[in-house]
Subunit: 209 residues, 2 copies
Amino acid sequence: MSPLPKVSQEYKEKRRQEILDTARKVFIQKGFDQTTMTDIVEASGLSRGGVYQYFSSTDEMFRQITDRNDEGFENWIKKIIGESKTAWAAIENYLAEVEAGLLEPGVGFGIVQFEYFVFSTRKEERSSYLLKRGETAIRNFSLLIENGMKTGEFKPIQPTEAIVMFIININDGLLLQSLTLNKYEHDRVYVKEQIQGLKMYLKQVLQVE
Amino acid sequence: MSPLPKVSQEYKEKRRQEILDTARKVFIQKGFDQTTMTDIVEASGLSRGGVYQYFSSTDEMFRQITDRNDEGFENWIKKIIGESKTAWAAIENYLAEVEAGLLEPGVGFGIVQFEYFVFSTRKEERSSYLLKRGETAIRNFSLLIENGMKTGEFKPIQPTEAIVMFIININDGLLLQSLTLNKYEHDRVYVKEQIQGLKMYLKQVLQVE
DNA sequence: ATTATAAACGACAAGGATGTCGTTTATCAA
DNA sequence: TTGATAAACGACATCCTTGTCGTTTATAAT
């Protein structure tokens, strides 16, 4: 009588994840906006109706992938802070990992998120999600700075949020330059130099040492 | 016998410019990728066939608008350099104008160019144009730095190109943040702070003073 | 095995953008 | 004026994507 599920919750969850993994790959390969439902349907090996059973738009898929990613990012930052001797060391370790990620070939999901962000500035219906994600990003980056403020290691001469946005700008810019130039002229992105430049700024604005 | 034009060259050129001006407005309002030929046709007051007589794609229109813009930018930079007492003053004057532009409401064509740039990273057929424009931008920004190198005022500890890319990153980032946040929370973009931050970096990397 | 029900299928209608092309209108030369 | 020619028009065929829905298949409880 009662509508019992015909497959287990685990089965459904597994399938959801499979579709999401496929979508992720397609997004990375084609970019968010160029990816159609049809693309994902074909890549998944399922049928149109099958995929629609789980997701009704690429937007929905993107957000779920991203939200999962964001959790990972927060934990990553916290781990770095936990493992670093000083607050400045945490920042240096973080930047070292960013640098390594940018220098290796192939773009990840980061650039897809950036694309989505840029596309979305024109779509009113996405603004609340955008704002929410912006807050999340700022909050996570802020951890790195507040960490040093508590111990007195950092004495910032600008609001934390302004400093965070500066970091995000360089971060995004490097991502974008990597995507464009990396294909043709790896070395011209000047990843190392720009990260070094970011450190010059941070040392001054945080009054480190 | 010979196929004489039925209207003067001036007439055709004027019409071309009218269409281009319309396209520019629509691009700014809707964003590059959301703008269709149909949009521009409707906004122009002409017919579909009429517009196609002059341009066969929004891409073509965009490039022509952009190329005109780039010339303006080069002249603008040169004018600033010419009018400034020192090379550092030129940079400060340049940044002051950028700041003023970002603080006033309404987005200009700059953000459209940025959008196009991001969109294009996924379109192979645009890569050569992209690369060319990148070179142009780098060359123009480089003027500001080379200007101070000649006089010995700047002694950069990084390649000029790396410094220029850092500037471009902050520039683009501010543009993007303005577009998203300005609508809702003007003050949270921290334009002043980030420009000040850029100066901190520049002073160090150029070894000014 | 049988059966109820959910998952998966895939054809299709609807919407929207593009580029074309035969037709109409405007322009200039004679 | 008239006629030749180009500019402007706008309907339309084409292509692509989306979301739906009636049908088929698979599952697990009986």
